[in-house]
Structure formats: structure tokens, C-alpha cells
Subunit: 200 residues, 2 copies
């Protein structure tokens, strides 16, 4: 097989490393870029180069922001009485799209003995200190870790740590996804959905 | 919904424009990059910036190459007696992977009255001139345009143009894809596969 020009191969290699992009998609992207004007290519390159420019990790919620505290932590039109605990900054985006109007706390992962991640590796200490310091304002902590084994365990662990503070601790509802099909729902989801049933 | 930091939004927008990447994948990529060291991000950015560096369009086969004529056109260990006619440079990659050892000619698309692409917009004239000029060496022209309506029509058109030159004109075989399932094959593929049946 003929060697591809070095610069093309390099772009394919770099894109192949990104999540969700295999070697075939990476090739398609590389040749797509080749067919575009140099200006478009430069824009993509520059946007990546400047990704971390003017970007801070908020020292309050540990999400990315352009200021510290971040825009969300500083917003006057948001509900400062509830904190939503999430694993990653990407989860904040998902909750924002869903219309959540409170505060966040990004713990940076889940407790996982197999992966060697303990509670001390996450921002759980910081969460507890924050809730304690703002106990006048904070009324509810919403656990929004992923519905996985580790996510559940991490939520339970954090819940225990917050128990002696007089605040409401809640967990996102589990059940059938909207648009889903009862027939294809796994038994655990279905049993949770039964447990959590509501009067109509 | 809270506005994302500008630099993150820009990366998401730029990646969303690439083929096969939607806004969700683009977000995943942006946050994945954020979690990586600055060096990794710079490497990706530079590889994109340098994509067209030292890259030429070969004036013989119209594929991308680091020299002109390109490496494939100059190779002594390849079969210069057959030319494979393809639509795009990406198709060259696919044929290289399949082990083709001859020459190529990238016409740059297909004739499509709907999209306003006529034969003059493609490198068909160049192909005919090339075959005529090298008629001593070239023995076979293999049509490897895509098995679509436009691809077929373009192959027929080129075939007609080459008719009066005494060379073999062939077309890639159509039939069942390897690993495919007879049950799921569309009727056209199956009927082509019957027509093209071979004795075993």
C-alpha cells in the first residue's frame, strides 16, 4: 500500500485519537478538509489552539468558565438554594439543556476502587465544605451522578457525608426514557420505574 | 440555558461542521480535549494547520502527493499499464488498501445535471489526453466510480470517449459484499450478482 502524504497521515492519526472517531471517519475528515479553502482549515486549527485560552476552572463549582467564580456561580437570576452534583463538565451542559436553573458542583469523576479513584481524588471534600459554608442559602443537594454502579455508590457516599447537615438530599428520578419502548427496557430500569410510579 | 465559554463553543461549532460529527459528538470532543494536556491540543491544532503544507495535486493523476508527479505515478515497482479511474482521492486510499498496484486518475466527482456538474468540470479531458499520450504503455482503463446512478453514467460516458482507442475498458464487479447476507441484499445488487456469476 502506498504511503499517504505525511501531513494527511498526521491529521488522520490525530483525529483517530478523539472519542467516537475511528480511522475511517478520520480519513473522511482529512480529505474533507483538503477540499476546503485554507481559511476554513486555519479557523479549525485556531479554534483548537485557543481552546484553553481565557478558560478557568471555577474554584467554587469546578466547572469551566471565563471568569472565577464562573458565570453560573455569579448569576443573580439563578436559584442559589440548590446544588446539582455532577461527574463531569459535560453533564452541566446536558442539565442546562434540560432547563435546570440552580447551581452545580463538578466532582470530576466517580469513586471506583477498580480504577483506583478514591473519594479524596474527587472534589467531594470541597462540596461538603461549600455546603457547610453556605448552609444559610443551600436548601437542596441534587445527586446527578450517572445511573451506573459507581455513580450510585458515589451518590450514596456523598449523601452520607451530608447527612448531619440539615438539607434536602435528592437523586434524579430513574425510569423509562421518553420515547423509549417498554418492550425493550431492561428489567432494572423497569423495576425502578415501577417503584417510582406516580399517581396521575 | 447558560452560555458556554466562547472558546469551547467555537471548537464545538467548528467540529460540528466536519462530516459525520454532530453537535453532541462535537461537545464530547471539546470536553475530551479540555481534559488533555496543552501539548496534545497543540499537536492536533498544528497537524490541521500544516495539512496542506508540502502537498501538491499531481498534474498526472490529480491525487494529492508530496511531489509532482506524485509518488504513485513515479513508482517503478507499480503497473503502469492499467489506470484506475476514481471519483475522489479518498477512493485511492480504499483501492490501495485492497491491494491495487496500478496507476490512478482522480476525475474529481461525477457528472450530475442536478448538481450542475458537467463533464467539463471534471478531469475527463485530461484522462483522455493522458491515455492517448501514453497509448504505448496503457493497456487497460478500470472504471472505479461509485456504483450509484451518477457514477454509472459517468463511467459509461468516459467509456464512450475512450472507445476509439484500442485499450481494454473494464468496470469493477458488482455483487454481494463479502460478509453480507443474501436475505438483506437489495434486488439490484442480487440481480447484478446473478448476471456476473462465475463457474467454480
Amino acid at each position: 500500500m502506498a504511503r499517504l502524504p505525511k501531513s494527511i497521515q498526521k491529521v488522520i492519526d490525530e483525529f483517530s485519537r478523539l472519542p467516537g472517531i475511528g480511522p475511517k471517519s478520520a480519513s473522511r475528515i482529512a480529505f474533507y478538509l483538503l477540499s476546503k479553502p485554507t481559511d476554513d482549515i486555519r479557523q479549525l486549527s485556531e479554534s483548537v489552539a485557543k481552546l484553553k485560552e481565557n478558560l478557568h476552572t471555577c474554584t467554587k463549582c469546578y466547572n469551566y468558565g471565563e471568569s472565577d467564580p464562573c458565570e453560573i456561580c455569579q448569576a443573580n437570576d439563578r436559584d442559589h438554594s440548590s446544588i446539582c452534583v455532577v461527574e463531569e463538565p459535560l453533564d452541566v451542559m446536558a442539565l442546562e439543556r434540560a432547563g435546570f436553573k440552580g447551581m452545580y458542583h463538578v466532582i470530576g469523576g466517580v469513586i471506583s476502587p477498580i480504577a483506583g479513584v478514591s473519594a479524596d481524588d474527587l472534589r467531594i471534600r470541597e462540596l461538603i465544605d461549600r455546603v457547610r459554608a453556605e448552609s444559610d442559602t443551600i436548601e437542596e443537594v441534587i445527586m446527578a451522578t450517572n445511573p451506573t454502579l459507581e455513580g450510585e455508590a458515589t451518590a450514596v457516599f456523598i449523601g452520607e457525608q451530608l447527612q448531619n447537615l440539615k438539607i434536602k438530599i435528592t437523586r434524579l428520578a430513574r425510569g423509562l426514557p421518553i420515547g423509549g419502548d417498554l418492550e425493550y427496557a431492561d428489567e432494572l430500569t423497569l423495576s425502578r420505574s415501577l417503584e417510582g410510579r406516580k399517581e396521575v
